[in-house]
Amino acid sequence: MKREITFTLNDDIVSVYVESDEKLLDVLRYKLGIKSPKQGCGRGECGSCSVLLNGKSVRSCIIYAVEIDGQKIETLEGIQKNGITKLQRSFVEHNAFQCGFCASGVTITMTEFLRKNPYPKIAEIKEALSGNLCRCTGYKSIVDAIADATKEGE
């Protein structure tokens, strides 16, 4: 069953026909050309498909597209549309990622987290990051980059 949904995608209003069993991740990637969320597991386990739904990070691989009708979705494309953020710059400077496949999901999760907790402790960063799997880095470079970007007084 196809139906049309309309939602806000990175400040634009978009309409798209979706099947009732189509996942948000697939609609974003294959119908709307939004390639930043990646499929790592397809089961909500790795966090690489994370996007912001009304400001909250969710795993787009386990959300049905029909559910987001009338809602607001933000992806990395939206977050960086006015230039790269301070967090992203810190990721670049710290060589935070290796293969880079987890980068979008990590950035989304951390963007949400830092909005709530702009000056986190290292342990809090690790905790907030623990739902995002990264096989390459051992996380230290990512944590260091976040810590550096959120130093108090900056």
């Binding site: 990637r29 050309g33 390639k35 930043s36 990646k38 499929q39 790592g40 597991c41 397809g42 089961r43 386990e45 790795c46 690489s48 990395l76 494309e77 960086q80 790269i84 992203q88 990721f91 670049v92 400077e93 060589n95 935070a96 990622f97 290796q98 293969c99 880079g100 496949f101 987890c102 980068a103 979008s104 950035t107 960063i125 690790k126 905790e127 990051l129 623990s130 739902g131 995002n132 799997l133 990264c134 096989r135 390459c136 880095t137 051992g138 996380y139 230290k140 470079s141 990512i142 944590v143």
Partner: protein
């Protein structure tokens, strides 16, 4: 020490911005238009069964289905070293998850619906799930035709058995040495199968066009090797097979060689003119890409009272799964090196590749060295303890030195092993006890040393093209893969150093086998060394052309010219400087209006011409199978909760002799990342099979990989630099080595803390608690 401007200096990686902004495109990010067709694969539910019949008629009749393919169409054998793997099996399946048939359809959904309509009639056969059973005399044969398979001359499949290869090493007089030893320890160690778990699953897109060209976009570590395998297997001229390799979302050896890409390739042949895409889901990635071999190791070591190791018998029984096409070389490589980084005069090694009805196994970061170091380095600690010698001192006493003979008779090259040991011991504060305030928590330290050589055919090679543009920037074309290790940045730095060009003006292009020159594969921690040498030669050739042009046009002696800050300068005329951008494309104009020069380019190739795999099959002596060894050491401080059995790593230190570290920050990233991957295999990771060969944990809920919460608070990556004479600026690889010390170091720490010796990884809380209970009895 030479003062370099780029080499060894900190910098941000040249692909950093692309990755942070998702500008980096992985295979699934590429667009192929609405005509793209999708492939779904029917996999075997049996670990071992005869295929009696396949009926695809109902699947073919579904609207949207363009083709159904199986072993009736494509049963060709392929393989990197031993051609024992079929594109689709014609007569029998050998593991749960093996591809039996595939559907090409207009959507993934239709393709998936259609595979359910394929009827396969199987006759189940007895299946073998353990290598130790598979080598028994009466074991059912997994490859009855093993004797007829094509194989490289330096591997020895044993027809009529389940043994795909045996590597034997015989050095000295082992019996006499054991007879004269003061103390002998003999025991067994076990390392189960684990998976690579890159975040990006395997994916392949293929087009077979009406010109008869097969083009593929693959997530791969081995574009040229894939081209070669596909061209020879499908009988298409090499020039008509083109592999394009976009960014890869993690490889770790799992994307070395070829696996599911063969399915996409033959599917494309069936639907000429259409793009077809095949992407594995996470379950398929577990079941049907490749895994790390399981190892059962038997070690017997003899020592003198003073702590000198005199004899080692090391038997390695490797479960390579149902295919040894790649894994046979893991078995081979470890056979040559299973003495570890020690000077041992009398050695007897047998390394067996054993077929079972498990998924094919192949390259995995460390190429077998992690697995055998676990047993060996556990054994070393136990012997040291028995002799009442400190574990670090015992290692130092026996550590291999430059000029010592390795097991196959070749002299050990330059090594900073001793310095690595000392630096790690210092950083981890070896010998200093620490205590937890909680009486249930025990703190302890464990140590390990390691070595590893790149495992490669003796004629592996790398090539590079380098070309200038009008503004003096350059593009480097190579075919190594950026897997995250920082390959692009290393190659750029080498060119920057030789040509005095800043990193911002250098691009390194991803492989496209039509355009980029040859690279064997991005494996074995060899690309910094091998591809780096090729890039350096290309840069030197370009530099020569630059000097040649300037010398011909302006009559400066060539020998007096040098490059600095993107300019040609002359030792004999301090006022002369000519910016590269003024002439590298357009040449230098003469008084009469003519020009000299032309586009500046350079090419470079590298092959280790001293390497040879020709050895005596009974002794392993007589060749030069390994180009060099990278050595190192690692240690951990852990805290064990005696109530829960949980282990937490508080502190780690690892040191490696990288010869010359080109990118310190990225190399540190290799140590941290490799350590955490190693920690996964030490504490949690294990592929679990049921008795019929079905994987019980093919997802990240049941197969845990490390998260940010498990990272130690203190991590100390350390480098030692004893130059590799034939490496670029003295560099040798370190990428894989970083994983190797972890399993034994943690195991040794547990033994030091609790007095229990676990001979099997992972060290789960259950195993710790069981062992404590056993000890308490």
């Amino acid at each position: 020490m030479t003062d370099y401007k780029y080499i060894g200096k900190r910098s941000v990686r040249i692909d950093g911005l692309a990755k942070v902004t998702c500008t980096a495109q992985y295979t699934d990010d590429l667009e192929f238009g609405p005509n793209l067709l999708h492939i779904a694969v029917l996999s075997s539910p049996y670990a071992h069964a005869r295929i009696l019949s396949i009926d695809t008629s109902e699947a073919e009749s579904i609207p949207g289905v363009k083709a159904v393919i199986s072993g009736r169409d494509f049963s060709q054998k392929f393989g990197l070293y031993l051609k024992d793997h079929s594109i689709f099996p014609a007569d029998r399946v050998r593991y749960v998850g093996e591809q039996v048939a595939a559907v090409v359809a207009t959507s993934e959904k239709i393709a998936k619906t259609a595979i359910k309509k394929i009827k396969v009639d199987y006759e189940p056969l007895q299946n073998v799930q353990c290598a130790l059973d598979a080598i028994k005399k009466d074991a059912i044969l997994i490859h009855p035709d093993l004797g007829n398979y094509e194989v490289v001359p330096w591997l020895y499949p044993q027809a009529g058995t389940n043994i795909g290869h045996i590597r034997k090493i015989r050095k000295g007089n082992i019996e006499k040495a054991f007879a004269e030893a003061d103390y002998i320890l003999e025991d067994q160690y076990h390392v189960p199968h684990v998976v690579h778990a890159p975040l990006e699953n395997h994916i392949a897109v293929a087009l077979y066009d009406y010109e008869g060209r097969l083009t593929m976009w693959n997530s791969t570590q081995s574009p040229h090797t894939q081209r070669n395998i596909l061209a020879s297997c499908l009988k298409i001229p090499h020039k008509n097979v083109r592999i394009i390799a976009p960014y890869v979302g993690g490889g770790f050896g799992g994307k070395a060689g070829i696996s599911m890409e063969v399915i996409a390739a033959v599917a494309a042949l069936k639907v000429q003119g259409h793009y077809v895409k095949l992407r594995w889901n996470r379950k398929e990635e577990f079941e049907n890409s490749s895994q790390r071999q399981e190892l059962f190791a038997k070690i017997k070591m003899g020592v003198k009272k003073d702590g000198t190791i005199v004899a080692l018998r090391h038997k390695l029984f490797w479960d390579v799964g149902s295919s040894a096409e790649y894994g046979s070389n893991v078995v081979n490589a470890t056979g040559f090196s299973a003495i570890g980084p020690y000077n041992i005069p009398n050695v007897h090694i047998d390394s067996y590749a054993i077929y079972t009805n498990r998924p094919p196994c192949g390259a995995y970061r460390g190429f077998g060295y992690s697995e055998f170091h676990f047993g060996l380095e556990s054994h070393i600690d136990r012997i040291a303890k028995k002799l009442n010698i400190d574990a670090v001192e015992f290692r130092k006493k026996n550590a291999i030195k430059r000029g010592d003979k390795v097991a196959y008779g070749v002299e050990m090259g330059p090594t900073g092993l001793m310095e690595c040991i000392e630096k790690v011991a210092k950083k981890i504060e070896w010998g200093k006890e620490t205590k937890s305030d909680d009486p249930d928590k025990i703190r302890a330290k464990g140590f390990s040393i390691v070595w590893k050589a790149p495992a490669m055919p003796p004629n592996e090679s790398s090539a590079a093209f380098l070309k200038f543009s009008e503004d003096g920037s350059i593009n480097i074309l190579v075919s190594g893969m950026e897997l995250g290790q920082g390959y692009l940045t290393s190659m750029a730095k080498i060119a920057a150093e030789e040509l005095s060009i800043p990193l911002e003006k250098i691009r390194v292009e991803h492989p496209d086998t039509d355009r980029n020159p040859y690279e064997w594969q991005t494996v074995a921690s060899h690309t910094t060394w091998s591809s780096g040498n090729a890039v350096r030669k290309a840069a030197i050739e370009a530099k020569n052309r630059i000097f040649d042009t300037v010398s011909r046009a302006l009559h400066y002696p060539k020998e007096a010219l040098y490059l600095e800050d993107e300019k040609v300068k002359c030792k004999e005329d301090s006022k002369f400087e000519l910016p590269l951008r003024d002439f590298v494309i357009n040449g230098i104009q003469m008084k009469d209006g003519t020009f000299r020069g032309g586009p500046i380019m350079g090419t470079g190739i590298f092959m280790p011409e001293f390497s040879s795999a020709k050895v005596n099959p009974e002794t392993g002596q007589g060749g030069y199978p390994n180009v060099h060894y990278t050595t190192g050491a690692g240690a951990v401080e852990i805290e064990i909760d005696k109530k829960t059995g949980r282990i937490k790593v508080l502190k780690m230190a690892e040191a490696f002799d990288g010869g010359k570290i080109l990118n310190p920050e990225l190399a540190e990233g290799q140590i941290i990342g490799g350590f955490m991957q190693g920690l996964g295999t030490a504490l949690w990771e294990e592929v679990k099979f049921d008795e019929n060969g079905k994987i019980l944990n093919p997802n990240f809920t049941d197969y845990k990989i490390p998260t940010a919460l498990e990272t130690p608070d203190e991590m100390y990556p350390i480098f030692v630099e004893v130059p590799q004479p034939d490496g670029p600026y003295g560099a040798r690889g370190i990428g894989e080595h970083t994983m190797i010390p972890v399993m034994p170091a943690v195991g040794n720490a547990i033994a030091n803390g609790l007095g229990i010796r676990l001979k099997e990884v992972p060290f789960t809380p259950e195993k710790i608690l069981d062992a404590l209970e056993e000890k308490g009895k």
